[in-house]
Amino acid sequence: MAELEMELVGAPPARRANPRAARLARRAWAAAWPKLAAAAIGLGLWQLVVSLGIWPDYLLPGPGAVVARLALDGGRSDFYLAVGITLQRAAGDYAAALVIGSLLGVAVAASRLLRRAVGSMITGLQSMPTIAWFPLAILLFGLSERAILFVVVLGAAPSVANGLISGIDQVPPLLLRAARVIGARGPSLYRHVVLPAALPAFVGGLKQGWAFAWRSLMAGELLVNVAGHPSLGVRLQFARELADAEGLLAAMIVLLVIGMVVDGVFGVLERRIRSQWGLAV
């Protein structure tokens, strides 16, 4: 393993004539190699467990077999259909959670009464395991998209709302005074000062909300098999029923990668805002 890592570190990016491209490549490489090294270590540990022979190959295949299966699945349209359905749900349901969470956040931040009424409930909801909502969701909405939407929104909206609320609460008083002096009142105070000032905390809430949404969505896809919607969750479930361990692990890798990519996008957004504001070093 150590050897592999050394090799990864040591391999220089391809030299280019264009210095800008070379710089970009160097930066990409600097960002990528620790992740690649970690992935290599993870795969190594996995292979190690497989080699111990605790489980037979057909229950726990090694990384090589699963990667080969991924490549195979990657050439089939039903795989993309599943990824598409899952991503579409993720985007739509998360967008709904974002809108609802933001509206709730602004309302609670603005109204003292509302805060006393539901402020602590939002935090309580956040710590509620979202999977616990599914029985109720299925009773109310049946095995439908709406059941999944319901749970994803319940899972993600509180984080979004809480991010916004704490962002609004933490606006420096000096900036509020400056805003009053320059004549920002009511809605324009919110639009020009309070909401922009709350942005970093809000993005933090969005990121956390995404993590909750993604988890809730997977729970939903495992529990709620909507007919004619062969999502990634459904693939997982089928793979288990057919004892297709390779297919199952291949689907899980796809889930992991999607989650990481979206999280990475939020991370980039967060860093950009922080550096623009002079918050980061």
């Binding site: 009053r180 320059i182 004549g183 020009h192 000032a197």
Partner: protein, 245 residues
């Protein structure tokens, strides 16, 4: 009368923690008058300005700005970190409902006034302390208020830049017929700019002395006549500090 305070007191906190920041302060500023306020640290100067700007209410006494618009330039720049220098100056214009094209022209003019045209696109954290103060000055001027309250605005600047801004401020004050209340620790600066200089006593703040400045304008901060009066004001400040100590 642009601004009038009658027996204004202000205390913070309650019980044993109570701080009397201002004790029956009475003062008035005539329209178009430039008044400077000097006083020890903690004597209540900033408190006075926030009352005048309407950010806080007096505990006792009455305060009258005759319906005039006041604007306050804080002791700290208090810029909005998500906006560029130009964005910070533009916001008050937008809030006043000025049209986009006119706004852009006005921002350009104001930034040129504070000599920051080249830094229009920078965010506050990319500017030096003195540059931030100058953006704050431009933002204050963008508000077109009749009463300009300034809290140690040029404390962080080098002598030359400060001198240039004194000239600019004097010019704008004249042109717009502003009433200005200018807080400073620097007696020379007070004499350079003010029609009158008020000396604040400390803890609690009160107007302890008043010095009319009869020197003709334009004044030079290094002129000997100015230094003589500044020295008298300085002595008076010393006296206040000794009384306090």
């Amino acid at each position: 009368m642009a601004v009038a305070l009658a027996s204004v007191s202000k205390h913070f906190g309650h019980g044993v923690d109570e701080v009397l920041a201002l004790n029956r302060v009475s003062l008035s500023i005539q329209p178009g008058e430039f008044v400077c306020l000097v006083g020890a640290s903690g004597s209540g100067k900033s408190t006075l300005l926030s009352l005048l700007a309407g950010l806080d209410r007096p505990s006792e006494g009455s305060l009258d700005t005759g319906g005039a618009h006041t604007t306050l330039m804080f002791q700290e720049p208090a810029l909005f970190p998500w906006l560029t220098a130009a964005g910070n100056v533009e916001l008050p214009l937008a809030l006043r409902g000025m049209q986009k094209a006119e706004r852009r022209r006005e921002v350009g003019r104001l930034l040129e006034l504070v000599r920051l045209s080249e830094f229009a696109g920078r965010h506050p954290h990319e500017l030096s302390g003195g540059m931030r103060q100058r953006v704050a000055l431009a933002r204050a001027l963008a508000q077109a208020a009749e009463v300009l309250l300034m809290d140690e605005p040029f404390g962080a600047l080098d002598a030359i830049t400060r001198d240039l801004l004194h000239d600019e401020l004097e010019r704008i004050w004249r042109e717009r017929g502003l009433s200005v209340l200018f807080v400073t620790h620097n007696a020379r600066e007070a004499v350079r700019l003010g029609d009158r200089v008020l000396v604040f006593s400390s803890r609690p703040g009160r107007v302890a002395a008043e010095f009319p400045v009869d020197l003709p304008r334009p004044r030079r901060i290094e002129s000997p006549e100015l230094a003589v009066l500044a020295a008298r004001i300085y002595d008076r400040l010393r006296l206040e500090a000794d009384l306090d100590g």
